[in-house]
Amino acid sequence: MNRSRLAANAVAVAAAAVTLFPIYWMVLSAVKPAGEIQSLQARPWTLAPTLEHFRRVLGAENFGRYFLNSAAVALSVVVLSAVVAFLAAFAVTRFRFRFRTSVLIMFLVAQMVPVEALTIPLFFLVRDLGGVVPGVGLNTLGSLVLVHLAFSLPFAIWMMRGFVAAVPEAIEEAAMIDGASRAVILWRIIFPLVAPGLVATGVFSFITAWNDFIFARTFIISATHNQTLPAALLVFFKPDENDWGGIMAASTLMTVPVLVFFIAVQRRLVAGLGGAVKD
């Protein structure tokens, strides 16, 4: 028993080390002096850590602007997706209406469409939409929010169904009898109860929106001030010599918000994912 425990611990720690290594390498390369990165003997440590790459990234490349763009898009998607998915999941779980099954199947199938396939139609769609509705056309952050929102919904609704279903209907009935209005029941009673699910789906939509590369490249063509971080990283790839120090420093900076967001919700995340699939 004890020996197998020990072995399990050892394996777990080894797996953790393998996982951690590339991340360690990223931070390490970000603080290594330029000369050391290029040297052939790559050493897994550095004796002269430097912030030169960070300074270059933050100073020259309009990094702050891109950072705020990415944050604005990702946070809008998280908030909107939580509200829209919650309402939809509530309706399809608690209420049987015509075409309900069709609607559920549509959510599921929508999940399977390869993103690359939709890029071209979406480009034309966003272009034309921009002519009708201001603020969501090409070169706008609004277009990114809308498209990411739509892509996050099938999974979010699917996850939220399990959570809404787990809330006993008796709670709603009791609240009704106590004279609570529908809005109060929905937002003050049920919404908090499904919070773990919202956290789990929120992490998903945040990560997808924050990491997105394809849509940002496709929709933001000329308005460079509306560019987001992943696409902006390309600046450091040069035809002759990639600026690895810059790439790694920018990557580290790009990872920090995800980490903060994630550490804030880690405990709830595991519970959240588990609750979505009731066995």
Binding site: L87, F90, T93, F95, T101, S102, V113, L122, R182, S251
Partner: protein, 349 residues
């Protein structure tokens, strides 16, 4: 009109409001997912190109794109590589490793668990472009970290073993989801059952097969469905190998990307995308079928679990996709796996 709904509708939602609640989601998904997907189907039967004559005036060519694709060796190779990629990195890699970690960490609290969980999750939440750079740096031929560590200078991992490289990469990248799902699933297995089995002399393998597996089948199937779909459509490793060398790691999404976007053959790319969608659909139907069968068996065994199982069964619904919208028929039959009659009065009223 909403009268008969009262019994099924604890929040007093009413039909109009229920539809109103679903509407924003439906409109968004309809406009940004379904409509472009239908457009893709249309493009698939044309010779639409990014540039040139066919760009201005695309012609409908019928099934030509499909016959070209199915007859193309490159497409068939891509399909086979995609199958390897899904089996290797999702079904074996992510699900296997995820289960192993969840099993080892089960029932424990404290720093080891939090550390391992945190790190596995970390590799999952990192931005894709970032992790791609990290893996290029790791596997690089000259000055790559792996070569430095193994003492194999000049070993060209990405050139000699491109598929293995991206399979290992995707396993590293995506194990977190399976781990979390299985960790949650294993918590639903009562420790007393395992204890009893152990006292009765069951080996670990026997415990897994007879005690754990039957209880977490639903989680396993859901997990397999999701990670297979994600992996099949995964584009991230393109940043690492770009499908090369000589197309030896060109899985289907890369094939679409290079033919449609780089080669400018939008019509052809759309046709291949539609084939990918069909393959996904086959995956999904197979899993849903297994899931339904499970629920049916389950209902006979565990009457008390009915209500919770019912929710699983409600998702695929009776005969998914093949019979769209059975709810449109007044008084739909209960879903086969549900084990209790759904409140069907609303549709009748």
């Amino acid at each position: 009109m909403t009268g008969p709904a009262a019994g099924t509708d604890a929040a007093g939602l009413g039909r109009a409001r229920a539809v109103g609640f679903v509407l924003p989601a439906l409109v968004l998904i309809g406009v940004f997912l379904v409509f472009p997907a239908l457009w893709t189907i249309y493009l698939g039967i044309t010779d639409y190109r990014l540039t040139g004559l066919a760009a201005a005036d695309p012609r409908v060519v019928g099934a030509e794109n499909y016959t070209t694709a199915l007859g193309d060796d490159r497409f068939r190779t891509s399909l086979w590589l995609s199958v390897q990629y899904v089996l290797g990195s999702a079904v074996i890699g992510q699900a296997g490793l995820g289960f192993a970690i969840a099993w080892m960490l089960r029932g424990r609290r404290g720093p080891v668990r939090r550390l391992v969980e945190g790190l596995v999750l970390l590799s999952w939440i990192l931005p894709s472009s970032v992790v791609a750079f990290l893996w290029i740096a790791l596997l690089d031929r000259d000055g790559g970290t792996l070569n430095a560590l193994l003492g194999t200078p000049g070993a060209a991992w990405l050139l000699d073993h491109p598929m293995l490289s991206i399979i290992v990469f995707n396993t590293w990248r995506g194990t977190a989801f399976s781990m979390m799902l299985y960790a949650a699933a294993l918590e639903s297995v009562p420790p007393s059952h395992l204890e009893t089995a152990r006292l009765a002399g069951a080996s670990t393998l026997q415990q897994l097969r007879d005690v754990v597996l039957p209880r977490i089948k639903g989680h396993i199937l859901t997990n397999m469905l999701l990670i297979s779909l994600w992996t099949f459509n995964d584009f991230t490793p393109f940043l690492i190998t770009a499908g090369g060398p000589e197309g030896r790691s060109e899985i289907l999404p890369f094939y679409v990307y290079t033919t449609a976007l780089r080669g400018g053959q939008l019509g052809f790319g759309a046709a291949v995308s539609f084939l990918i969608l069909l393959i996904n659909l086959v995956f999904a139907l197979a899993y849903l079928r297994l899931l339904r069968n499970r629920n049916r068996d389950h209902d006979h065994d565990h009457d008390r679990d009915r209500d919770r199982d019912h929710e699983d069964a409600a998702l695929p619904g009776p005969g998914p996709a093949a019979v769209p919208g059975p709810a449109a028929v007044p008084g739909p039959p209960p879903a086969p796996g549900s084990g209790r009659a759904p409140a069907s009065r609303e549709a009748a009223g």
